[in-house]
Symmetry: D5
Subunit: 96 residues, 10 copies
């Protein structure tokens, strides 16, 4: 089941640089692991923003929430979730 | 080059049913042709809305505009365009 | 799987009274049938508005969309969908 | 009498972890006690957010305010209240 | 139980003058009758707007909705409802 | 002359508890004194919010501003002012 | 007593040209008469908009409303009212 | 050339009282000097707000920016600029 | 003197095709004539929108308004005006 | 390929003056270097704001993002990106 998730990162200025670097490294590993599992299907950077647009493929709302609330950057993000489904005009096999 | 495009359709009530059906059929053919060409890379329906979220892969802003302004439903849509690029955490080969 | 759906109805003034009455009657039958099936779990009227707040229990985003886009009042509604899940503080057995 | 209440939590970063844990534990006990009394009828987590959607069944506006302003997390929440009533299409006995 | 209700009237231009006058006359009678019953406690005009701010004193959300949805101008109004209660600093006996 | 004033309080977290208590006590005395003078005609609490809705009866804009800017909580409030007048449907003698 | 009033005109397309011209002529005469009386103290056009920003000097909210609701263009305007008073830094005698 | 400028002041709480007093005194002198030069033509306080509405008469956008960015309170203000011109219904000689 | 002007066109559906074509042709001639005069310095299409972003170089607010309100598409446009000036980091001679 | 970029700077108050001056100097050098390369085609100051409106000419979204995210002021800016293309009414050779 697909979800469109838009994430915007707002790192507080007083976050020590080393702590920030650690969080970002863990975020990257976390994101890549979920991509390998097929659950985080797409991730793109938004031009000019510290933000991404992602597509998740999860079994239900609960799994989506566990993934998102487990993001190392979760406390520093604004997240917007939109449930998706196959479009009647889609031709690509793997877009549902 | 990738763009995130959100389209919301607002068909006017006084559009004759037959005319509407014709526009929608042409829209579907137009969308599927562009998908086959690889320019309209993804299209998903938004749950509960007459709307879609799409990813386009075009050579530049001009080509994107020619495609969008040529949509049979263009006069009845609200369109929001966001330029994307490869995310540093992406692992999928074809997400850029 | 649970979804929070807020629906606001805007009936156009030039909809003939008889046609409106027919749509509203079909909407009621449709809503009650889905309640009996357990898919439309709750529906409440918002005080002072021609609007409702509802909770749906469906198998996935696709089923939610089929139900919502099939509403007789769908062309006259603004719909907002929010995916829900069990809250860690919930004690009621049937709130998930 | 029913009310729809949407709560979004924004914990300040400089709240000591131990103090935060204490507040959250008291919030959970408070919420579960009110659920047992039947006053906090439903509570659901919003996917991807530190937020909930709840339904309260109280005797009047005053009781609702006493409950909400007594929440341990009240100083850290944005709260939106919407008065509800039985919908004419509802069939469930306990949705009013 | 008190509610703050803000009403803004938007009369469609194609409403025949006579029909509009009839609706407005019925609205006035309806409003004055409810004021005499003590249910529509206050009504003020907003300067420069075809709008009012009102205070209702009703037994519950359901009664408020029956009153508001019965307004002759209801189909032409935007209505915003806010539940109120006695303020701890209030000294006036009849402000609760 | 009547004004509708909506006030929302946002106490900063680092305001010492004793200082906050002093400000709130002075605010209450200030509000009650103005109610006794008939200038602060009504004050109601908004359910679920640290906010009030008030009606002021003052001689002009200047007096209103002197009163509002003199509120002990003024530096911690968002204030919205709306000028009111007698509604043509009002029957209560003292609503103008 | 001074009020800042922002007016934006939205003439419906189906208003016959002659009727529109008549309304605009009456509006101009009305505005100039009130300027001569000193009640409509200033009026400026907003660059690029069919809109104006005005300053009114009236005895109270009621007079302001009678003037604004009597504007020939009133049914076609969005109006926003802000009460003003003398600024402590003002030096001009006639700015209060 | 006329500009409508709306300024809202947000003094940070941790600004030392003496420093704030100095800034406000310099702001007042600056504003009065520009009024005497005829460049800051009007200034009014907004009732209930730490805000003003002003009219500037400057030779061009550049002069306006130099004046506004030189305000002692500039770092603590939200400023909104609207270009104005003589209204065709204006009769006052000095409103252009 | 430079102004940033954003224009969005909303052609009404019931505008006859021939009339629309005539307006658009006159708009193009009008825009090109002003470009030749150097007053309409830049015009760009916004990708995916029936909209443009333009830079005007005019002698004052009045001239800007005469140009904009004279646009054949003026009655069908939303226009947003922002006054500009030379940026301290600009190196291009003709950007002021 | 052209992009419209609006940047608003919000320098935190606790940024040491010397550090701020260093960032601003590096920002200016960075902006002028990109102007010389022809990639940052225009930059204008917005009157009354610590903000600019710019036009970039880059080869793709990726290059735009590398430029913007490399701005010394990037962590202190709100940035809004709009893709542009040649307008059909443009006559200037270098506006595409």
């Amino acid at each position: 089941m697909l979800f469109h998730v838009a994430m915007t990162v707002k790192l507080p200025r007083d976050l020590p640089a080393e702590e920030a670097a650690g969080i970002i490294a863990r975020e990257k590993a976390y994101a890549q692991d979920l991509q390998r599992q097929g659950k985080w299907r797409h991730i793109w950077r938004v031009a000019g923003q510290y933000a991404n647009v992602s597509i998740f493929d999860v079994s239900d709302n609960d799994e989506l929430h566990q993934i998102l609330s487990g993001l190392p950057l979760f406390p520093f993000m604004e997240i917007e979730v939109t449930p998706l489904l196959r479009h009647p005009s889609a031709i690509r096999e793997d877009d549902s």
